[in-house]
């Protein structure tokens, strides 16, 4: 029984991790859902004992109700975060026209370059590039003569 649980957790987590490394946002979210479920299954398998439902009157051994309540809470939380992630994916899609991580990375790079130019141009001591180049070439010409 322990082995089955361990194998289940491992497969879910592994499949989830594989999907998280994909470049498509929807697959990525599917991967997060699988990883969340791996955690839920792990909580269930952390039960201290197994048996019938923990409802009065008891007959024989009863299963640990604590892990069940924990898993229920964790399911609710992962449900809400999944909904939030999907909503955010929609906003990413509508603002970038793409759900591909490569496109998003390109947009991020362009933004970083833009930032660098904005702050670089404002440097008080910095000489604008187009003024600097002729001066340098002038020096080189003088040295050559």
């Amino acid at each position: 029984m322990t082995f089955i649980f361990a194998a289940g957790v491992a497969i879910l987590f592994g499949a989830g991790a594989y999907l998280v490394l994909k470049r498509d946002l929807i697959r990525l979210i599917a991967g997060m859902v699988l990883i969340g479920n791996a955690a839920n299954l792990f909580i269930m398998s952390a039960a201290l004992r197994r048996g019938s439902a923990a409802v009065l009157p008891f007959s024989g051994t009863f299963s640990d109700p604590m892990v069940q309540s924990m898993t229920l809470t964790a399911i609710v939380i992962s449900f809400s975060t999944t909904a939030l992630m999907l909503a955010l994916t929609y906003r990413v899609y509508s603002s970038h026209d793409s759900m591909d991580l490569t496109q998003l990375a390109l947009a991020e790079e362009a933004q970083a370059e833009q930032d660098e130019q904005d702050t670089g141009a404002g440097e008080p001591g910095a000489v604008p590039v187009d003024e600097r180049v002729p001066a340098l070439s002038g020096v080189r010409q003088e040295g050559g003569v």
């Binding site: 933004q111 660098e116 404002g122």
Partner: protein, 457 residues
């Protein structure tokens, strides 16, 4: 005992009410500020009682001991709660004065305050996870506040990375429950020495990784610069000043309090990662140009000190870690809020923050550095003293460079409302005052560190 529930109740009902109202209207922004002030006041009263009478306890739903969820407030929790609520209040005031741009923002600030206060107050490991998720979900939504394409990208990265961290933490909680048989922190503490070494160290590692992601420590930091540069100043201040406290509190509570043996074994790892974080953050911050990016890497560097102090451990180490967390959170709040404004008050305030990060007297950051210095000398770790100096020099270099670029440049003056200038000036004044009268803060952090076990059981 209902005083423990009072701040939580104010924040919870306040958050729900605000969620139904249009937060872009100025009066609802002020309503949120009022609720946060009320919660801060209630927490202050509770702090008074905790410091006078010791740890306060309350069992929810009047269940029997050992069955119901316990809220347990000690000096450590109350210090972090006061700090986080103060930071959130500053950021919310700033945003209200600026004009709130999203109807949900005030409610989100209150929900985050609820999550943070709850996790600092709880005495139950799983309840900690639930409050932790409440504050994280508020943070996920907040990261996209502003709604530009860049903020959506940042928010997506933030959610995916931090959700993975939360899942690891959840697995660690399940592991703790299975090995100790309890979720109540007090019971876990007594059972922990009986747990076999391997499961305990595995669980402790998972917890450490989960909190390092929140803290933005060196090998887990990759999400942090993208998020901090993308978001609005108030959100960056909230993330670095309030939300990052989860990381240092979590490592102190779970590491120093519940897993002291494992923390002791892993102390060297913490120190190495902390030192790497200080150097990496410092060097990267010097190399960057955008103000928010410099501050983001500075945040990575500053948490390194906290981690080293925890790794060295002992009462002095924990006290230094708590003191540094408090000062760092206040510095980052001031810097993130002031860096995008203009005016001479802002310039002066930013200079105060810059000196505080670099650790120049008489600003309060000096005492954080002094405490670390003292720790290095007392503990006979000369390399740590050198690291504090090198890190301080790096932070002086990048903070001054940033100051020069932002405030010595000819540019449009003014444009910043006077009220915002006053707010930022007040935060700077508070940081200077703490520097001039550090005694109360020292006492508070000593008190907070005294709840953590000093010796290995």
């Amino acid at each position: 005992m209902s005083l423990i529930a009072l701040p939580l109740a104010i924040l919870w009902f306040g958050g729900v009410i605000l969620a139904l109202l249009d937060g872009t209207e100025r009066r609802f922004g002020w309503l949120a500020v009022g609720m946060l002030v009320a919660a801060l006041g209630a927490t202050g009263l509770l702090a008074q009682r905790v410091l006078d009478q010791g740890t306060q306890e309350m069992r929810l739903g009047n269940w029997d001991a050992g069955i119901g969820i316990t809220l347990r407030v000690d000096a450590l929790g109350i210090t972090f709660a006061l700090l986080s609520l103060t930071v959130l209040l500053c950021a919310l005031l700033y945003e209200t004065l600026e004009g709130i741009g999203a109807r949900i923002f005030p409610a989100l600030v209150l929900f985050m305050a609820l999550g943070l206060t709850g996790l600092f107050f709880t005495g139950d490991a799983f309840n900690f996870y639930v409050f932790f998720e409440i504050s994280m979900i508020a943070a996920y939504v907040m990261a996209s506040y502003g709604e530009t394409p860049r903020q959506f990208r940042a928010a997506f990265l933030f959610i995916v990375v931090n959700l993975l961290g939360s899942v690891l933490f959840l697995i660690a909680i399940a592991g703790t429950y299975h090995t100790t048989g309890w979720l109540d922190m007090e019971k876990i503490r007594t059972r922990m020495p009986l747990v076999a070494e391997n499961p305990a160290i595995l669980t402790a590692t998972l917890i450490f990784v989960a909190f390092s992601i929140k803290l933005g420590l060196f090998p887990f930091h990759f999400w942090l610069p993208a998020v901090y540069t993308g978001t609005r100043p108030a959100v960056a201040a909230i993330l670095s000043g309030a939300l990052a406290n989860i990381g240092s509190y979590g490592i102190l509570r779970f590491g120093a309090d519940l897993f002291p043996r494992e923390l002791h074994e892993g102390g060297r790892v913490l120190i190495v990662l902390g030192a790497a974080s200080v150097l990496y953050g410092g060097v990267q911050a010097v190399a960057r140009h955008t103000p928010n990016e410099v501050l983001a890497y500075s945040a990575i560097g500053q948490v390194g000190y906290i981690l080293i102090a925890i790794g060295i451990g002992g009462k002095a180490g924990y006290a230094a870690a708590i003191l540094y967390t408090v000062l760092n959170a206040l510095n980052k709040t001031l810097l993130f809020l002031s860096v995008n404004l203009r005016g001479w008050v802002i310039g002066a305030a930013f200079a105060v923050g810059a000196f505080s990060v670099a650790g120049v007297p008489p600003v309060s950051g000096f005492f954080g550095k002094l405490e670390l210095f003292q720790l290095g000398v007392d503990d006979h770790r000369p390399w740590f003293v050198v690291l504090v100096f090198v890190g301080g020099m790096l932070s002086f270099a990048y903070m001054f460079e940033l100051y020069r670029r932002r405030f010595w440049m000819p540019g449009e003056d003014g444009g910043t409302p006077r009220s915002q200038q006053v707010l930022v000036g007040m935060i700077a004044l508070a940081i200077v005052l703490i520097g001039l009268m550090p005694e109360p803060l020292f006492q508070l952090t000593q008190h907070a560190a005294s709840v953590l076990p000093e010796q290995l059981p």
